[in-house]
Symmetry: C2
Subunit: 569 residues, 2 copies
């Protein structure tokens, strides 16, 4: 009871991100024992990706080398550490009797069945810490939370037992033990979209992005891998697509690259939803299959596409559906996840008005363009389902083209946050990615040439505060709440590449990670708000930098060390 | 005559940046001979920084490895190269009889006397190339231009003479020989400001920034080294300033660091104008000298400062002038350049209204606050001049505080481009850095906490196109034109650090580099315009990336290879 009272006197959270659903902290300091280790407590051996995750966590504990973000940094805590108990070990325990699978297997199963829940306790008395979960994925989420508890003394700990033998050694400690966490995400889909077509990203960039995603428990990499500008994806059945459609041979993802990325993601609790956007956004297919692409590079491009170059698949031509199905089937067979996006945004109808092959095909089938589109899209979705997967599409397929999509289809909302209601009213499941909250590329000016004073189409810049203010249930009625699978922030890469992917994404994309993990209220029961979150997000940023992610400063360091002192007044 | 006609048929520029004042190109290809070398043609030995610049240029020729930005990249040029002459060497020649000094000596002399002019010729017939200049600084500018002429075949050149012996070797070539350049900058001051106080930048970041500056012939590093958030500068006479005022011991610039940066800059044709901003923006001095700082960290900060923390020097107190003069003198004695900024922006008068020490000092001196400010500022400027240097101040010292500044004082315009006229009307020399064109930090949202929907104070984002559209002479009368020393883009670092300094600055800051080097008209005699510039700026970006600068993509690579096809229509 005494302890309980104390808990009410201290901040409810230190610097965990996303905030756990339930967490209590104490006021005691605990240091990692020099012999600290992580113990796999089940009799069944740990799957290899779990073992790797344990190793990575152990390394991070000693290499993050993050001093706490307070005035004086580590020096502020040294006195308290003199009385700290030493944490000897962390037990990882699978509870229940289900089969122990790899993190990747758990992370790539159907959304509804993913179990990321875990409990974590770090006692203050020198007894062992414990993470319990039903799945390896849950244990991994717990490990991620555990790794965020610890700070470094930065090599000033040599007056303490043990450490006195290692001059310059850092002590690794937490200041709010005992810690008790019961956690599970509010939404099963928490994503990040990266467009690798407009500009190409080497595999190393994607690995680094996956590392950062995993650090904030984002569990879905929405890989917009192809578009009109380039086709970097190697398709086994149609190698000519990337051979002619990529920017260069060096700017392709080989079959092995894709598997490496999927495995890298899976071991970090991240599923890959690949998107091959059709029938629009396909000008790059012209390079290998000119016969399948209408209005290629027509002028003015603005009549035929939302951005240059124009060019769209002749979806009304039966061979094009066959081709698309062959392409999808070839790719789908290599993907372990259960979601696959067939795209469907920004279809331009002008492209087909004077396209002879399209008009001939329509005459032959007796269909109008809309009916032909429906045949095409549903045909491609059949291919997705034949691979045991669920199709996802951009919102226009439902709201503009009015296609009678299968009820399993997941709708990707992007144009406006206002469109979620229309999707829900039609009874479809959705993922939020509205440009007015979640587009990471907005606000950097016009990338099209010949426009001195131009702004981006989706001005202003979407701050982390704006993303953080998003309400996944806004405008919906309670009976529609279960249609919300989650959401994601998105990076379209007209003005991005290796050089700025980290600073343009991080720590901003952590905002939606918490929105969709923690839900409407923080663990204190109060609505989430960016003032409370800022101090924790600084911690995310500094820890990401320690882990090799070029996440930007949100404020001068002076402010990062003084929560609340740099608020607008 | 035949050649002359050809010159009119090809683009007047390939990808030089900034555009030379006068340049002609031919249509022949020339490749670097495998034995190409750069010959110092004067009998006096080259100064060490010139020798180093020659070595760096030689290295860049072979390591840039940039394929030309056209569809097909290097493959597009292979056929033409079969008929290319080989360039055997490049002569560097100082003309006239003046003493040969180091690049750094030439780059740090008084603005009015800097001679950056050069001529460059690259014949198409296999005879030697030549750069001539009055100074090593001019030769260095010519070398920079020369290095931008060359592209790589990317290892596909093995069917050519010589190269057939080196499978995989790249041929280095240009496609528009003969090249003839006569060049000299339109304005002597072409700068970049970096704020190293709000967040700290390691020396390596500054080196990399200087490399990029030099690549586009920016010749002034305006180093806003201290501010209210931290005092990273080691002052020999007052070591306590950084000891207590820096974020940490690791986040300081030692005396050696400063000299290393000055020398690194000087060898790259860049002068350093250091700024120790007073009497505002000095809260960090409180950490070592609380007695000199009024209203330190008062609440609400917005009453006492433009951003937290508040705190300003008690300029009316005579000891504070002595202290400032001692600080300036100590720093000035280590600086080779001739400009030094004493700051002077955003002085907050409220800070002094209830400040007892200030009011006592005013009573003792019989001065009012404005008179005391004048005494202080002019006193610090005396110290600057006593070191043989010229003071620079932010515009408020002249336009708001109405101080009778010495006629040599350079005014830094920042609040608005409209303020240049008022400065000129008072007859002062000026450097343009208006926030409405040149602030690199605008448009990324509110960094102050507690503001969900906030925009930056200087929205929108200042695109490179906007900066490029700046007219240095706008609103001025012809008799005032000679008051314009040049201008600069500026990075204030509330939301910046190592992680994003490259992508937030480059290639944007190349825009002002060309505005102030090339002047109103390009070498074709037509007004500069961003449509023409875009293709060349892509080249800048790709070459910077090749040289280790994380400059961002301006467009999808598809557009970078197809000038004009991604214009707004």
């Amino acid at each position: 009871m005494y302890l309980f009272v104390l808990l009410l006197l201290v901040p409810t959270t230190l610097a965990l991100w996303p905030n756990p659903r339930n967490v209590t902290f104490g006021t005691s300091s605990v240091i990692l024992s020099p012999t600290f280790w992580i113990h796999w407590a089940s009799t069944t051996p740990a799957p290899p990706d779990m073992t790797a995750a344990i190793s990575r966590t152990m390394a991070q504990l000693y290499t993050d080398n993050l001093q706490r973000l307070v005035v004086g940094r580590a020096n502020a805590d040294l006195q308290a550490l003199a009385y700290a108990a030493e944490l000897p070990m962390l037990h990882l325990e699978i509870i229940g009797n289900s089969e122990i699978k790899s993190i990747m297997a758990e992370a790539t199963c159907e959304l509804e069945y993913r179990d990321e829940s875990y409990t974590l306790s770090v006692p203050a008395d020198g007894t062992a810490a414990m993470i319990q979960a039903n799945t390896t994925l849950g244990l991994f989420r717990g490990l991620t939370t555990f790794s965020q508890l610890w700070y470094s003394t930065g090599g000033v700990a040599s007056t303490f037992p043990y450490y006195s033998f290692f001059p310059g050694a850092s002590m690794i400690y937490t200041i709010q033990a005992p810690v008790s966490v019961m956690d599970t995400p509010a939404y099963p889909y928490r994503g990040l979209l990266l467009d690798t077509s407009r500009n190409f990203f080497p595999v190393a960039d994607i690995y680094r992005t996956l590392d950062a995603m995993s650090d904030v428990k984002i569990n879905m990499f929405h890989w917009h891998i192809t578009d009109s500008q380039s086709f970097p994806l190697t398709v086994a059945a149609l190698p000519e697509l990337s051979q002619y459609g990529a920017y260069s041979a060096a700017q392709t993802y080989s079959l092995q690259d894709v598997q490496d990325i999927i495995n890298y993601a899976g071991g970090r609790g991240v599923d890959v939803m690949m998107e091959i956007d059709t029938p629009g956004h396909t000008a790059s297919i012209y390079e290998s299959h000119p016969e399948y692409v209408a209005c290629w590079n027509f002028e003015p491009w603005s009549t035929y596409a939302n951005e240059p170059p124009s060019g769209q698949l002749r979806f009304a031509v039966p061979e094009v559906l066959n081709f698309t199905q062959q392409m999808f089937a070839s790719v789908l067979s290599t993907l372990p996840g259960t979601l696959f996006s067939t795209g469907g945004d920004e279809l331009n109808i002008n492209c087909y008005v004077n396209d002879t092959l399209t008009q001939e095909a329509l005459s032959a089938s007796g269909q109008n363009l809309s009916e032909a589109l429906s045949t095409y899209v549903l045909g491609t979705h059949d291919t997705v389902r034949a691979s045991g997967k669920t199709p996802a599409v951009w919102e226009e397929m439902l709201l503009v083209q009015n296609i009678s999509l299968g009820s399993d289809t997941i709708i990707l909302v992007w144009i406006s946050s206002d469109d979620a209601l229309a999707v829900a009213d039609k009874g479809y499941k959705m993922v939020h990615g509205p440009s007015d909250y979640f587009y990471l590329d907005c606000g950097a000016g016009e990338w099209l040439g010949n426009d001195t004073d131009g702004n981006s189409w989706c001005d202003p810049f979407k701050t982390w505060q704006k993303a953080y203010s998003f309400d996944p249930l806004q405008n919906l009625t309670e009976s529609q709440y279960n249609l919300v699978m989650g959401g994601q922030q998105l990076l379209w890469t007209e003005q991005s590449g290796s050089e700025n992917v980290d600073p343009i994404v991080w720590p901003r994309a952590a905002a939606s990670a918490e929105v969709f993990w923690t839900g409407a209220n923080g663990p204190d029961g109060l609505p989430r708000n960016s003032s409370e979150a800022l101090a924790r997000l600084h911690d995310v940023r500094y820890r990401m930098v320690a882990r090799g992610i070029n996440a930007i400063n949100l404020q001068p360091e002076w402010c990062a060390l003084r929560p609340g002192e740099c608020n607008l007044v």
